[in-house]
Each structure stands twice: as C-alpha cells, then as structure tokens.
Subunit: 161 residues, 2 copies
C-alpha cells in the first residue's frame, strides 16, 4: 500500500515519536530551527529540500505542536515558524544524534563545528534523573505495564484533540 512506514499500530513511545519527527528531512528542519532558522526560504536554501516536501513537513510539525506560526508582517501576510515548548524538548534528541555522529563517523574534533557550553567544550552525557548515575546495559530494563496502553495512532489522536 505504498511506502510510509506505518508505526501507528504499535504501542511504544519511540514509535510515537518517530511518527512525528521520523520523516526524512524533519530532523534537519528541527536542527536548523534550533540554529535560528524560522522561515521557509531559509530552510529551503540551506537544506536544498524540495519545496513541496518542506511545506508538507512544516505543516505536520505545526499540526503536532512542535512548531507554531507567528505572523511577522500583515501586508503582505507573512509568518515564521517558531519552536514550541514541546519542540524545544527535542533538543536532547538532536544533541545525542550530534554526539554519535561526531564520535562514530567524523571522529573526535574532526566535525565541522563544535558545541560549546558556557565557554568549555560540551559533550552530552545521559544520566538517570533520579539517581544521577549513567545507566549501564544491565541495570536498565523496560517493564510492561499491565494496563492496556493505547496504540501510537490512538495516542496521537488524543494528543491532537
């Protein structure tokens, strides 16, 4: 029936997230949003993405509340796209993707840019918010809930309504 990876039957937060930001280009659109890009033409120019695809991606990001539109001119009517709080919470996702790519593809210090935090080099570290420890492979488990949890499709529908 086509090509879309349809994650919506699953019941999993990862699948749910990918349903929102898993399309090709979407994460690069968000990367640029974090870097200050707000307008259609800027994204189009920087990414070289097809305009129809860009329009469609922006639309679904707005529909999911990751971006919102804000008018910046009445005549002619123009608006820009800004990250919402929900969108800003995606920053850890981008940072971990960045880190993996730098270490595993580019190699340390070989990347075209660096992250700087308050004057010193930044490298993300993921810790347990409760105890502050870095989780190992052994001590972290995924436990099923006994309640019947909604599928991705259902959760997204509720989220939109």
């Amino acid at each position: 029936m086509g090509r879309t990876a349809d994650y919506s039957r699953q019941t999993c937060p990862i699948a749910a997230t990918l349903e929102v930001i898993g399309d090709p280009w979407t994460l690069l659109i968000l990367r640029d949003a974090f870097n200050g890009v707000r307008r259609f033409e800027q994204w189009q120019e920087r990414l070289g993405v097809a305009r129809n695809v860009l329009a469609s991606r922006l639309k679904t990001l707005v529909a999911h509340g990751v971006l919102r539109t804000e008018p910046y001119s009445d005549r002619p009517p123009r608006h820009e796209y800004l990250l919402t709080d929900k969108g800003r919470e995606l920053r850890p996702v981008l940072l971990t993707l960045y880190d993996w790519g730098e270490r595993n593809i580019y190699g340390e210090g070989q990347a075209p840019n660096r992250m700087v935090h308050d004057g010193h080099p930044f490298r993300p570290k993921l810790v347990c918010a409760t105890c502050g420890e870095e989780p190992g492979s052994r001590d972290l488990r995924r436990v099923d809930q006994d309640v019947a949890a909604p599928t991705v499709g259902e959760a997204l529908a509720r989220d939109a309504g």
Copy 2:
C-alpha cells in the same frame, strides 16, 4: 530524481548520523535489538515490516558497523545480528526518543511500558559531561571550525574504508 533524502552533501554530524540510522524502520529495528531481538524472523514478526526492506536495513546497519553478524549454526548456515560497540552507543538516542514520546504524546505514566533503573523509575537527563550541568538554550552554542571539514559523504566513505 526519486525519493531518498540525500544528506550526504552536508557537513554536519547530525546529518551524518541520519544517513546511517535515518531510514524508516531503522530506529525501530535498533530499539528491538536493544530489547534482545537478534534474528530476521523476530524483527519481521514484531515490526510487520516488508521482508525486502528489513533485509536491506540490516545490510546497511552491518555495512556501517552498527550491527555485526555472528553465526549460530553451521548446518544449515545461520547467523544472528548483534549490536557492536558503535551500535550500543546509540542507546542515548533511543532513550531520548522514548522520553519525548512518553511525555509529549502518551503522557506521563500512560505509556505501555516503563523504564526501570536499578529498581527505581528511570527518566533520562542530559547533562554536560564536563561540568555536570543541564545546558539551557542560552549557554549552549554551536561554533564553526575554521578547518574545512569533510561532507557527510566523505566522512562516511572514510568510515567504511
């Protein structure tokens, strides 16, 4: 000319990472790998992904060194797919995706499963490895290197060779 989002002209670790794991299904394949899945039929059954697509994804993950094959039977010749060290380093990516989906789509405690770390609930927190602080939007910057950095395509080629 087709459909692939081609990130390879960019020079960015995020784009480089997406070139490896950004295909539809790939992140769910990895999610299941972290949950102990190792064989073709298991993935096929759990994901419902088309077999040709699954075969192709596994192939590229092996080619990029995220998974490796390990024989588990000589006659008939059979192998399973295991995460490499490089693959295991993707865990933070999966954890941040999980966290976002749980909080922003399912809602706290509504997800079908929970993460448990050493007996207590786990929620990932991203901190600066150097100073231990959680970075805000203001104090984290991306700084260009002056050296001419390789494109994603070049970095991946070097990575493979």
